[in-house]
Amino acid sequence: MSAAPQPLAPNRRHRPRNIHPHIANSRQGTQFHQLSVVSTPVERLSSSRPLPLWWHALIWLQRTSWLGCSLLAIAAFIVYAQTVYTQQLWGREYRKLAALQRQERQLTSTNALLKNHLATLSNTKDAGLVAPKPGNAIFLPAVPQRQLVPPPAHPTTAEPITSVPLGY
């Protein structure tokens, strides 16, 4: 043997990532077995060793975590946008409130001013209005209280006599 036997097994560094070390070892073992016993027929080792449940769970978590992560990121964006938007909204609504309050104020004072103006005008001779006096007021005498008429008692009309068939 002039040359040292080259290991057939791939370098650990170049091992494909998706191959599990157990599988790789088993494959390596098989290859060494082929080397040492060339003449013996190849035996297929059962590779279907059941993996534990937690293993599956972890793999599932790894594959699905991006979804949760993305949802959280979106939620964070929404919350942030809301905080900014509500403040803008508050500012807008505050301005609206101030404008409405101002309108209300102007309306009330103008209304009061107008009332006073009309009342002052009505006192002038040209207005053609007269102050209300008891002489030109109409007082309606209170209507005498009507006597309570008791409601008719429960109708006591005799039940219509129906001919009850007594028998045939």
Binding site: A3, A4, V84, Q87, Q88, W90, G91, R92, Y94, L97, A98, Q101, R102, R105, Q106, T108, S109, N111, A112, L113, K115, N116, A119, N123, A131, P132, K133, P134, G135, A137, F139
Partner: protein, 590 residues
């Protein structure tokens, strides 16, 4: 295999790299490292120096600048509480006004352009504005009391160097109508007269403003605003006054004062059950919107600040004293001889002649001074004086308006030992009270004998009409017995139906009343020729509810309560009947 093993061996024990590098290269590398280190250190030091400058040297200035840019003061409009009458009609309300300042050193446009733009808005000539701009570089007050609409126009100009500072102004939509009750507020928004002064604590509200952050686009960031910041209460102070009645009373008084050329007058309308005033007019008056243009003496309400000798309007009270103290009976008779000598003085009837033997009711009907002196002679002096004390003549009524005057009477010694003092007191002279005090005492006759406290404040109400606060009312102590008041009321009805108060009759209504024409005390002592005419009316007699008192000071011509004051009371009662919808008396035909 050996080669491989060697390689592996070499890998296990590698030779140091430094030993492998040439010395020149090593030297070069050291220099480079040193250079980088120096640059990093210098950079760090530079950063530290800048940090020191920003945080320590200019820290305060920069943080102030940043705060100015990022924050704004939010001060919502929190006005002084409005005042309304019993029907909710506004009597006083706050409105924002602005003061315009100019800072010419901040003008981005020539002053001529700014002046030309401002002139039509401020209704000032651009020349005068330019003249003001030249006075100072900054802080020139161009106008004050600018309304919101005008302020909007100025803001729309978008001119740098113009500053509008908000302020509050009190507005009285009814003008002079209720000035005697409401009063006014000064330039610093503090009440100076009337309700504005006496109810300052109820009307005033703390102006709350908060510092809020502002985002880059100028929008407010309300995260630091305290809870309930915008929820100012909507309470308003409601009075017992009825504006319609107040207007009718003022109109009637003004008209009568013009006709009789009187110097002043007052009308008081009181609900005798609780002392609430439906109208309180004092003439002459002022416009609280322009108070600075009026004489300062008008700001007091003379109906409660000035004393006068009530004269014959006091007679029903003296009769009530005589009846209640048991000194006389209602059917007693007295001889009215027309005049009576008391010491060295002679007391006469106002109408001159005597009425002969007359009843107490007739004494009141004819307003006989002699008859009154004779009635009050039956009351022992100490008892008479104790009644005057019971009436609280020397104290205030406790009305919720400011600057009320104390009544004046003689002291006990002087009163009980002087025949003339007692005699003059019998017909309402020699003692001085305010018109509001007289109204309070006469109300005791109308309401069955209680001494109610006159007042104009009803309470604090919200916009839904829900009461939130009511002023504490002092108890109403009994003064006369109900039986006595009934007797006196019956006598007062005769005065209106058959006596001196005929001018106040209203067909269909049972009204009681009493005229009064008193002499005014002169400044030199004694009495002057000036007179005060007064009349008090009570209606409806079958169930007394309202009292109307009119006092007219120094009328000219026919100066009697029956000719000057009674017509005013009649007009006011007519208005009162229609406003309060008082039905005609059942057993009285017109």
């Amino acid at each position: 295999m050996k080669q491989k093993l060697r390689t592996l061996d070499n890998r296990r024990s590698p030779k140091p790299i430094a030993n492998a590098r040439p010395p020149r290269f090593q030297n070069h590398l050291t220099k480079r490292l040193l250079l980088i280190w120096v640059i990093a250190i210098l950079g760090g030091m530079g950063l530290a120096a800048n940090l020191y400058r920003l945080q320590i040297l200019e820290g305060a200035k920069l943080s102030k600048k940043a705060q100015q840019q990022q924050t704004t003061k939010l001060s919502p409009f929190v006005p002084r509480r409005p005042i309304a009458d019993r029907n909710g009609n506004l009597l006083a309300i706050d409105r924002p006004v602005y003061t315009l300042y100019a800072h010419p050193n901040q003008f981005k446009k020539p002053p001529e352009v700014v002046a030309a733009k401002l002139a039509p808005i401020l209704l000032q000539s651009s020349e005068s504005l330019l003249g003001k701009f030249r006075q100072k570089k900054s802080g020139i007050r161009l106008a004050n009391g600018i309304k919101e609409e005008t302020a909007d126009l100025i803001t729309k100009l978008q001119t740098n160097g113009l500053e509008l500072l908000p302020d509050y102004a009190r507005f009285y939509p009814q003008g002079e109508l209720v000035a005697d009750i409401i009063g006014y507020v000064d330039g610093e928004h503090r009440g100076q007269a009337g309700i504005e002064y006496s109810q300052e604590n109820v009307l005033k509200r703390a102006i709350q403003s908060v510092q809020v952050n502002r985002s880059g686009n100028g929008a407010f960031m309300p995260d630091k605003i305290p809870e309930g910041f915008l929820h100012a209460d909507d309470l308003q102070l409601q009075l017992t006054v009825d504006t319609r009645l107040q207007r009718a009373a003022r109109l009637a008084l003004k008209k009568q004062m013009q006709e009789s050329q009187a110097s002043r007058g007052t009308v008081i309308v009181m609900d005798v059950r609780d002392g609430s005033l439906l109208a309180l007019v004092a003439e002459p008056t002022y416009d609280p919107n322009q108070y600075s243009k009026f004489d300062i003496s008008l700001f007091k309400n003379w109906a409660l600040t000035d004393l006068y000798e009530p004269g014959s309007t006091f007679k029903p009270l003296n009769i009530a004293i005589a009846l209640d103290s048991g000194a006389v009976k209602s059917d007693d008779t007295f001889n009215d001889s027309g005049q009576i000598q008391i010491g060295d003085r002679i007391i006469k009837n106002a109408e001159g002649g005597g009425q002969g033997t007359i009843t107490i009711a007739q004494i009141l009907q004819h307003s006989s001074n002699v008859g009154m002196v004779k009635i009050m002679r039956q009351v022992p002096p100490q008892v008479h004086y104790s009644w005057l004390e019971k009436m609280r003549l020397g104290s205030k009524t406790g009305i919720d308006l400011p600057f009320e005057a104390l009544g004046q009477t003689k002291n006990a010694q002087e009163f009980t030992h002087s025949l003339i003092e007692r005699a003059t007191a019998a017909f309402g002279q020699g003692l001085a009270i305010t018109p509001i005090h007289l109204a309070q005492l006469l109300a005791a006759i109308a309401n069955g004998g209680k001494l109610v406290t006159p007042h104009v404040v009803r309470g604090l109400f919200d916009s839904q009409g829900q009461m939130y606060w009511q002023p504490p009312f002092s108890p109403s102590p009994p003064l006369f017995s109900a039986e006595t008041t009934q007797k006196v009321l019956a006598m007062m009805e005769i005065v209106v139906n058959q006596g001196t108060g005929k001018t106040a009759r209203i067909p269909g209504y049972r009204i009681g009343g009493k005229t009064g024409t008193s002499q005014k005390a002169s400044l030199r002592g004694g009495y002057s020729q000036a007179r005060i005419a007064s009349f008090v009316g009570i209606l409806p007699i079958e169930s007394p509810r309202y009292l109307v008192l009119a006092v007219v000071d120094e009328p000219k011509g026919s100066v009697f309560g029956s000719t000057v004051a009674a017509p005013v009371v009649k007009s006011v009662m007519e208005a009162l009947i229609t406003i309060e919808r008082i039905p005609p008396s059942a057993n009285k035909k017109s």
